[in-house]
Amino acid sequence: MLRVEQLSGGYGQRDIVSDLTFSIEKGTFFGVLGPNGSGKTTLHKLLAGLIPPRTGNVEINEVSMSAMNAKDRARKMAVLPQQHLASFSYTVREVVELGRYSHQRGLFSFQSAEDEKVVNQAMNDTGVRAFADMSIDRLSGGEQQRVFLARALAQQPDILLLDEPTNHLDVSYQLQLLDTLKKWNETKQLTVLAIIHDLNLASMYCDELLLLSKGKIAAKGRPAHVLKEAKLQAVYGADIQQKYHPTVPSPLLTLSPSAEETNSDSLLSRLTIRQDSDALRIDAPSYFKTFSSALIGAGFGWANCFYNFQIAKEYDRSEAEEHVYKQTADDGIDSSDLVGMITATLENRSMKRLQVENVDVFILTTADPSSAVDASTGWATKPGQQRSGTINTFIFIEGTLSELAFAQAIVTATEAKSKAFQDGEVVAASSQSIATGTPMDGLAIAASQQEPNHIYADTSTPLGRLIGKGVYETLSEALKYSCSRNHS
């Protein structure tokens, strides 16, 4: 319904936006994003007819805006302004009635019954009817915003334009306003075009996004597509990471401060490893981003302390957990900074630092294969008692891993583990076949999140290859110890 064709324009001789072409379907909640100076506000003013385009054309329902007079235009498109400083104390009703201007004809026309009905409806829909006879400057910022929204709706437009509607509002008002808009958008098929500064709000409310960069379209499409990290980083020039919103299926983005601790020494060289009688402890000089299947600190997290606790072979899971918490608390460690695993052995262990060019990995493995199973046939056997015989692997990586890289590192390490079992001829007692691992294997990937960047960690990448090699070699060695010990 809205078509923008090769639109260029700006102030004076300088084009701020150039050659924009896009279209918006009826009923779309359309968001325009971009850093300061990308041309968002210029685009808004061009669309609203506040500055004339230098070249190009804007059409609403296939009628060119330049062919419309001011009133025609106002009946098609309403604008919710950014600032509303009224010097005089109009009542809410008077303000909303101004929205009917474009529907009135003649020199001295007054409100018709139709005008009155539309004005009342608009006030009802925005929840300001109760304030109708109050002066607008008595209202709070959020209420005022709703009054101006009612005025825009009283224009009965096909499309509503908003320039950073949430700029001056606190968070609860922002959400309230966007919720109201979304409701109108959905129930009345009102097309909304909003310039939104907040990437997360844009992602949650918009059906489609347009990302502007230096006056040109950098991306357009569904939020998940447009808000790709790489694209945003290139456009915003800042470090933005994408997560997923906990309750809404929308991408969530976080900014991280650009200045981080820098130390020329590799962080991996500064890991400290200590072994007590019942635990192996690794301390890191700074927080590592972790992704693990550990007993404590599983999933994604940040940790600077890594524990491998030795407990009895037969154990109760909750008891073990309690034991670990107590132990770390005694050592003065905050459990939220911790990745903690449990093992039956600390002797059968091996560790390795591998470096190839800019890839730097440190791997530590402890192995007790006494409860080994074959994942492919294990389904046929009864689940045995929980035993602490496990393979625990800690992989420390210098660099920033994408979430994909974390997941691929897990896959790579697991494949290498199975291969080590195969080559070490570890037999699963229950199925009498070559085992693939043990139940409750612990695996932790810890990345320093400093330079360099690792987007992938599959077996075709240098990082993946080092992980595969490191896990295979350390595990093979640890298994060898365990065999020799068992045989002796």
Partner: protein, 349 residues
């Protein structure tokens, strides 16, 4: 309960119009009656009805009839027209500029018109076709040009045209134009000394000629502004908002500024520069009936007219037989109110 639920606006305008009309009629009656020779109110009413409308209502002295019809009534009507014109012009400037401190005087429009008028008097100009209308026409044009210059210059200083910037620019222009007027007066010697008195604002020594001179401009100017009352309501929210609401801002802007200049220029041409009427009156009317220009403009005319007629009465009676220039009294009332408004405006910003 629910029947009590009037809107503030309708409640006030409901009594606003009859009240203001009655007040205006009483004011006219009173100001015509009071003077060096005080004429009883009912005689005054009878004279006006009989002589003006040929409605026979009572007996009165013929000398009183002469005083009323030849001296007092034209003077009161002129004061009323001038006051009404300045008030509606002020209300329009304030709405258009979203600026409660704007009025013909503070914007420098009055000074521009005065310079135009003094130039006409100094050169003894009488343009062909215009005749006696030369003075108001030149006055109006000079005022309009001054207004455009003030707005242009203020926009150069600060694009958003804040209250203070506009007023400061107006004061700069007023001072400059005032000095040009003084220069002209100094050059002429004695004959234009009376201009000094006129410059401070006065409706003294005018007659029906001046009333008739003023009326066409008054009607046209008021009509133009009434026809733009709804547009003025949108301009209060900013020119960009006005445009997105469907107002052809480029065209309406010139109608509004032109209409207000027409009223200011014609008022200055007949009565000199009378300050603060256009500032104080719209402010008071707004307090009573709200800021909707559809009501604010007509009621400002009535209130401004009554105010200036009363002020003129005070000016000519308070230290009789000497007459004060009317501008002295409006400034004595207006300047403190200007100060209060400026203070409130600062607090708001």
């Amino acid at each position: 309960m629910s029947t009590q639920k009037f809107s503030v606006l309708s409640k006030h305008t409901a009594w606003g119009y009859p009240l203001f009309v009655i007040l205006s009629l009483l004011t006219v009656l009173l100001t015509v009656a009071v003077g060096s020779v005080t004429i009883p109110l009912q005689d005054t009413a009878a004279i006006i009805l009989n002589e003006g409308f040929h409605i026979q209502t009572g007996v009165y002295e013929s000398m009183h009839a002469n005083i009323v019809m030849e001296i007092r009534l034209p003077r009161t009507l002129l004061a009323f027209l001038v006051g009404g014109a300045l008030a509606i012009a002020g209300a329009s400037f304030q709405g258009f500029l979203k600026n409660p401190l704007a009025d013909p005087y503070t914007l420098g429009v009055s000074s521009g018109s005065a310079l135009g008028a003094v130039t006409v008097l100094y050169l003894g100009l009488s343009l062909p076709l215009l005749g006696s209308f030369t003075l108001p026409v030149i006055s109006i044009i000079a005022g309009f040009i001054t207004l455009l210059l003030v707005l242009f210059f203020a926009r150069l200083i600060q694009k958003s045209l804040s209250t203070q910037t506009i007023i400061l620019t107006g004061i700069i222009f007023s001072s400059f134009l005032g000095s040009l007027i003084s220069l002209l007066i100094a050059l002429t010697g004695d004959e234009l000394r009376q201009i000094v008195h006129w410059l401070m604002g006065s409706v003294a020594m005018r007659g029906w000629d001046h009333v008739l001179l003023m009326i066409p401009f008054f009607i046209v100017g008021s009509f133009i502004l009434f026809a733009n009352a709804r547009e003025l309501n949108t301009f209060v929210f900013g020119e960009e908002t006005a445009r997105t609401l469907g107002v052809n801002t480029e065209r309406r802007k010139y109608w509004i500024l032109g209409g207000a200049s027409l009223l200011t220029g014609s008022a200055v041409a007949v009565a000199g520069t009378i300050g603060f009427v256009g500032l104080v009156i719209p402010h008071l009317v707004r307090l009573l009936v709200g800021p909707d220009h559809r009501h604010l403009l007509p009621l400002s005319i009535l209130a401004g007219g009554s105010f200036l007629a009363l002020t003129d009465m005070v000016a000519r009676t308070i230290i009789a037989p000497t007459e004060l220039p009317i501008g002295v009294i409006t400034a004595m009332i207006g300047a403190p109110i200007f100060g209060v408004l400026l203070y409130k405006q600062r607090r708001k910003e």
